[in-house]
């Protein structure tokens, strides 16, 4: 309409008048029908080109996405690819699993890649390195494999700490790979737990810093922990203290009621790798007798796992493990209490150890109980998942052990029996064995009580007994299980 009017405007004033007068006088219905007709004719004229363009665009889009999905994304120089092909063939079932020949080809491929100056940080280059490492491992040349993996990890560490070396969007993927390789190094470097601990810590701190950068809410959580670590590192041997804050365990109890902020995106894509590395760190800390780091790290990890929106089974297992650590810590405090009494220290010191022990036992109970309470709220289908079942079995067992410690023998018996049943049900065989052993201990305890004709014995009795024995205390024991995820 406008267009036609404008055309008229230029040509003759009379016509323009006519046009306007017509609009003014004519009912609006007529106007709109006129407009519609013109629009339709315009549309008809253009439609073919539009259809063709749309179709072409659509085909292009589909093609692009198909290419993205199906076309291999690796780009090796042709000569490198050729050598790799030989390596893969030698290694495969069709090539009779000849790992030596495969190793030879992979080493050649690495040389060739160096000639082409392939970026050592690229997935292609590190991929060949991993293949070399794998062949070394298969041929039982673990020391060489360790060196290859160390090269990758040190390259990543160097690049990740050099600003601008890795483009920001690529950093998370490098970190993910870095954590995987570091865990592999730890696995191969079993004889050197202290080095493993430092390595793990250095690399997961980098990952955590990345998370902190991306989510401001998480950064607070992470910063708190980091400051503690820094303190510990600077003090070397910090005095043994109760590392548990009252509020650190709130998470498990009322998870369902309180909506905790979840920032899954901030932790991805290396969420699982990070928690995996931290769990290993906890295990190694325990193995080297550093219970304090173990407990602190585990508490933070459990808290973070909630924030990172991990699977319920993983969170429950983490919480159950935390319970076990708390029990271990309680035993540790009891040993100190015993020593304090033996050395005839001031009453206040003995009391403080006793208080620490008590609070640790309470926290352990809380941990285990929260696992059981929370698992009850899960839908049946989730409750049947392996790690949920295992967490329930482990928590039931843990409660049984604590009750045994506290002298509540009947309750302990029931709990341990239940845990044995549950462990059998979920195929957690090691726990079956442990539960049986604990039941045996319990049986002897009951026997003894009957012989001595006394009532249930409580905490103080235990210490007294230890003192009466005069000899050394029994060892504090904990079974650390590291299993590969099936």
């Amino acid at each position: 309409m406008f267009r036609s009017c404008r055309q008229l405007r230029g040509s003759a004033p009379i016509l323009r008048q006519l046009c306007t007068s017509r609009i003014q006088t004519g009912p609006s219905l007529r106007f709109s029908s006129h407009y519609a007709r013109q629009h339709a004719s315009n549309y008809g004229r253009r439609s073919w080109s539009k259809i063709i363009l749309t179709t072409l665009g659509g085909i292009g889009l589909i093609g692009l996405s198909a290419w993205w999905v199906y076309w291999p994304h690796h780009t090796f120089p042709k000569s490198v690819a050729k050598i790799l092909r030989k390596g893969l063939w030698a290694e495969s079932d069709k090539g009779e699993k000849d790992y030596q020949t495969a190793l030879k080809h992979y080493l050649e491929a690495l040389e060739e890649a160096d000639k082409f100056e392939l970026d050592p940080l690229s997935d292609e280059y590190t991929g060949i390195q991993l293949k070399v490492g794998e062949m070394y491992e298969r041929l039982n040349m673990n020391q060489d494999a360790l060196m290859v993996y160390s090269e990758i990890a040190s390259a990543y560490l160097d690049a990740l700490t050099t600003p601008g070396k890795i483009p920001i969007p690529r950093r998370p993927h490098i970190i993910q790979k870095d954590l995987r390789v570091v865990v592999k190094i730890v696995e191969l470097n079993k004889g050197n737990p202290y080095a493993s601990k430092m390595l793990l810590m250095t690399h997961f701190l980098i990952a955590q810093e990345e998370v902190a950068k991306r989510s401001k809410t998480v950064s607070k959580l992470i910063k708190e922990e980091k400051e503690q670590i820094l303190q510990e590192v600077s003090q070397q041997q910090s005095p043994y203290s109760n590392p548990i804050k009252e509020d650190s365990l709130k998470v498990g109890e009322d998870e369902k009621i309180v909506v905790i902020e979840k920032n899954r995106d901030a932790w991805e894509p290396f969420r699982d790798e990070l928690f995996n590395a931290r769990d290993l760190y906890v295990a190694i800390s325990l193995a080297t007798g550093d219970l304090q780091s173990a407990v602190r790290t585990k508490i933070a990890t459990t808290e973070w796992m909630l924030n990172a929106d991990c699977d319920p089974g993983e969170i429950l297992m983490s919480q159950a493990n935390l319970g076990s650590l708390m029990y271990l810590q309680a035993e540790e405090f009891e040993a100190k209490e015993y020593r304090a009494i033996k050395q005839k220290l001031e009453e206040s010191k003995i009391a403080s150890e006793r208080f620490n022990k008590k609070s640790c036992l309470d926290l352990a109970l809380k941990c285990y109980e929260s696992v059981l309470a929370f698992s009850k709220q899960l839908p049946a289908q989730l409750r049947r998942e392996e790690n949920v079942e295992e967490s329930i079995a482990l928590s039931t067992y843990g409660l049984g052990v604590i009750k045994l410690h506290l002298g509540e023998l009947d309750t302990a018996k029931n709990l341990l029996r239940e845990s044995r049943l549950r462990a059998k049900g979920s195929g957690f065989n090691d726990l079956v064995v442990e539960a049986e052993r604990e039941l045996e201990k319990l049986g002897k305890e009951v026997e003894k009580l009957e012989k001595e004709n006394t009532q249930k014995e409580y905490e103080q009795e235990r210490i007294k007994k230890l003192l009466e024995n005069k000899g050394e205390q029994p060892d504090i024991e904990l079974d650390i299980q590291l299993n590969k995820h099936k």
């Binding site: 042709k78 690819a81 160097d158 600003p163 839908p379 410690h405 299980q481």
Partner: protein, 308 residues
Amino acid sequence: MGLFIPPNSDKNKDTQGSQNPSSDSNKTIFYTRPSVGLKLWGPLVPASDYLPGIYGLTALQTLLGLTMFRHTRIIWRQTSLISRISKIFSTVTGSYLIFNSGLEISRLIIPYDPWYEEAKSIRNQAIARGEKPNFWFGPLDYKPMSFKEWSEKVDDWVEETESQLNQEESSSFITQNPQFHQVYKQIRQLNKERNLEVLKNLKTPGMNEFLGLNNSQFINPEFDRPNLTLPDDNNLETNLDFLEVWELNDPWESLGRDTDYVVRFIPKYRWFEKLEELQKRQIEDNQEILKKQIEETLDEREDHKESI
């Protein structure tokens, strides 16, 4: 049955909230999903974590606004009363719609959205409980936080970010360290030399024993990664074949599977059975000594008696 409660009507909410469970537990109170610029749509607003819905609705609203403007432009020259009113009406409504879309978009541009986090976690919880929340509204029975709470959270976040930006550089634990680079260079050099050595040995027949590889089929028993299997139709003849196999057996994926651990701690009751046995034995020993002593004294006495 859904029961619609308009947002920000606190009186309503309280009375309904307290009466509802007792009177009719089947009714769930449905609260309008929160937004800044989409209020016009009332209960139709999608859950804050359903971003396609929110963006789609915002786009629709913008489009509606633009259509209104277009309408004004089309009837610009008409001067009848109806068209004048229509012009004013559509201009005002159009600007209102577009203004609101602008508000919503600028809200969505902020990288941190408490409503989004809330809706997402609630949706995930519902899924974990085995429910199937509506894709558009999310779980029906939750009450989103009010705008006031939302803006408080965003304010906190802004302040935090600000303070963080100010001290970002100073607090980094692992900073650039020339040592890292040196270590890397050293390891790389060592590996290069070692690789050449191994390669040379592998190429020379009869040198396998030097490397400790007397058996070509020797397999590290601890290394349990499944062997590489080629697809039936793939004989690694072309570059494409190679890429297919490489992608199927991506070394990084294999490593990821290999390094995924389950860690479990099983505590044990600290027990002193051994010590007790010792103690028992000691007591028994003591008793025996005592017995002997008594016997001896008794004997002595008897001797004494006899002598008397």
